[in-house]
Amino acid sequence: MELIAINIIDGLVTGLLLFMLSSGLTLIFSMMGVLNFAHASFYMLGAYFAYQISMYIGFWPGLVIAPLAVGIGGALVERYGLRRVHQYGHVPELIFTFGLALLIEEVVQFFWGKNQMAYEEPEILQFAAFAIGGNSVPAYKVFMIFVSVGIFMGLLYVLTKTRVGMVIQAALSYPRTVEALGHNVPLVFMGVFGVGTALAGVAGVIAGPVLGTFPGMAVLLGSIVFVTIVIGGLGSLWGALIASLLIGWLTTFAASYNVEFESILLFFGLEKPEIMSESALRDIWTMTLPQIGPILPYILMILILVFRPYGLFGKRDV
């Protein structure tokens, strides 16, 4: 029972972190119709910027400055890169963001090297917030939950209640009409791209100390974020939320329950081979749930794409 509670909290942290990335990505997708492969790279940039800032003036200024810097970087990429490539069509756009992801990884290695950075949570949050059955929950995790929930609320408020949000929503569905009404739609697009990447930057700032700040962090999370928005349905904010939490819990629970495939196979009446080392299927017999945990999201995505190509909440075809 305690294990379940702890896993629920851990999964929530992972899920909300994923959501900060996937919400920006899904907004950018519904705006430009292109998947931004470099999205996780902006997350990585956020972590590295925050690390650099925390070396000089501490964690808290970094929490504000680093996402701003990432957002400005993202807006510049949209203005001078994507907008140029847009005229050639969707595939070159996708390839452009793919190349950008490679380049950002190289640039990060150029400045910070290949090793993990000593980026740590602030001392003020280095205590156990509470304990469940002997397992203590660090205060930093609680802090992460609050930050991500706060950002989600803010985003929801801006998108649904303010004038800017209305213009954005309108520009997503009818860009030409909105332009004819006198709004600067390219500017809106640039803004949304900037905000989306800034959100990824926030995620990087708060995840860097927990998941580690190293050049592979973008690749590690990048494809999972894609999986998330595809499962949730491209362009759907609610879908992104549900799918993020689903994947967060799925991977966390899979990692902590040591279910062996042997017992499942025996349950279905299959016979265990006599000499394990000679059997070609020996890996299937010795497989455990934590081992295949990381690939569960991909299996889920393929199943969803095959049986319901719009994802869980998507309205349009991807």
Partner: protein, 429 residues
């Protein structure tokens, strides 16, 4: 009726005319002659690697260029073909089965085809983003499986074999690099020729139609899905051949042959060369392999430069390096290359200075950040400099900015000359 039959036979006749066979003969002669020009072992290794990359890039372009399907996990088909071939090598070694090495690519191809026919059965239902995402998912899935399923993929260290234990082929046992080169060259030519023929068949033509307008192709009575499926399977087959050639050359396959980085680099190579015309990816494969092998000897930062080159290609030359070459060929055909000569030479020097100075700046900066403390001297362009003195920085920044400024001033002239040279009915950039 007779007229169509007649025109058909005449097109068949032109298909095998001298003009269409000539490029293949030239390519064969070139492949035969190359080892006499570059006889060293390292050159042979580079050429082998190039050949493998060319086969892989051409197979990839069957999807991306000919069929309009963007795959993010294509290394898997090459990798699985290669893994299977190493297993066959080991099987032959143990059981002494009569399988000569030159036939191995057929097996590799068949396993690539097998995997592609399974994955394609659900991934090719839709093109576009759905296909790209499924390919990404399958790619990640199989790459992750390589750590889990140790019996087949060998876990972290991969699996290795020995090509020389295969049945001797006319007393050739493939001990030396040159024998492997000729084997690879033969398969390169054969695979490229078969892929070219595939692109000329009705199914290859329909792949183009489905790429451009799937709806219209459906109204003509073709199932877009099946057309995509056949292209996908054919591409998997040739990827498997590339994987087998890789297995023959390197005799080891690891997780690296399956992962996203490899899938990404083949996309990069193909796009660098250009995806419009069948032969375009060859340029990309050659340039990439040269950069990879030559540049990586010179600098640690080669991937950075490669990434920058790739982004510049996507942004400024969306039809790739061979697209640029072909446009120039057009101008030469019209007999007016002389218009471009003087602006190009004027542009070349400042452009070269800008590129070299920027690269030098990167190198100095990199050295400054990552060299051991107290180490202040480095060799840049054959000159030993002190990275902590002001002079090299001033010179490099000055050269980069100055060159860039000059380029910007000359650029309008170059563009004007370009327009002038390609004006009558020509394609503008």
């Amino acid at each position: 009726m007779t007229q169509t039959a007649h025109s058909r036979s005449s097109t068949a006749a032109t298909m095998f005319s001298v003009a269409s066979v000539l490029p293949w003969l030239l390519a064969a002669l070139l492949l035969l002659a190359l080892p006499t020009v570059f006889p060293s072992n390292s050159a042979l290794t580079i050429m082998n690697q190039m050949a493998i990359t060319i086969v892989f890039a051409l197979a990839y372009n069957m999807l991306l260029g000919q069929g309009g399907m963007l795959s993010f996990g294509h290394a898997v088909y090459m990798g699985v073909g290669g893994f299977m071939c190493v297993h066959i090598m080991n099987y032959v070694e143990v059981n002494e089965a009569p399988v000569p090495l030159p036939l191995l690519p057929i097996f590799g191809g068949l396993f690539g085809l097998g995997l592609a026919s399974i994955v394609g059965s659900f991934s090719t239902r839709k093109a576009g983003t759905v296909f790209a995402m499924i390919s990404l998912g399958v790619g990640e899935l199989i790459a992750a499986c390589s750590i889990i399923i140790v019996a087949f993929f060998g876990g972290e260290e991969g699996i290795s074999g020995d090509r020389t234990y295969m049945m001797p082929f006319f007393e050739v046992e493939f001990f030396t690099q040159i024998e492997v080169y000729y084997l690879t060259a033969f398969w390169l030519l054969l695979a490229a020729f078969l892929m070219y023929l595939f692109s000329r068949t009705p199914i290859g033509r329909m792949a183009n139609a489905v790429r451009d307008n799937p709806e219209r192709a459906e109204f003509l009575g073709y199932s877009a899905r099946w057309v995509r499926y056949y292209s996908f399977c054919a591409s998997g087959f040739f990827c498997g051949i590339a994987g087998a050639l890789f297995a023959i050359n390197f005799e080891i396959l690891t997780e690296e042959n399956l992962n996203l980085a490899t899938s990404g680099s083949i996309l990069l190579i193909t796009f660098l060369g250009g995806i419009g015309v069948f032969f375009c990816p060859i340029v990309g494969a050659i340039v990439f392999t040269l950069l990879q092998t030559v540049l990586s000897l010179e600098t640690e930062l080669w991937q950075l430069y490669l990434g920058a080159l790739f982004l510049a290609t996507v942004m400024f030359f969306p039809d790739g390096l061979s697209g640029v070459l072909m446009r120039h060929a057009n101008i030469v055909q019209r007999g007016r290359p002389q218009i471009l000569v003087s602006p190009y030479t004027k542009m070349a020097i400042p452009a070269l200075v800008t590129v070299l100075a920027s690269a030098g700046l990167c190198e100095v900066l990199f050295h400054g950040r990552h060299a051991a403390t107290g180490e202040h001297s480095m060799v840049l362009y054959w000159i030993t400099i002190d990275t902590h003195s002001l002079l090299p920085w001033v010179v490099l920044i000055g050269c980069a900015l100055g060159g860039f400024g000059l380029c910007k001033r000359i650029a309008p002239d170059v563009l004007e000359a370009w327009d002038e040279a390609s004006r009558p009915g020509g394609v503008n950039p």
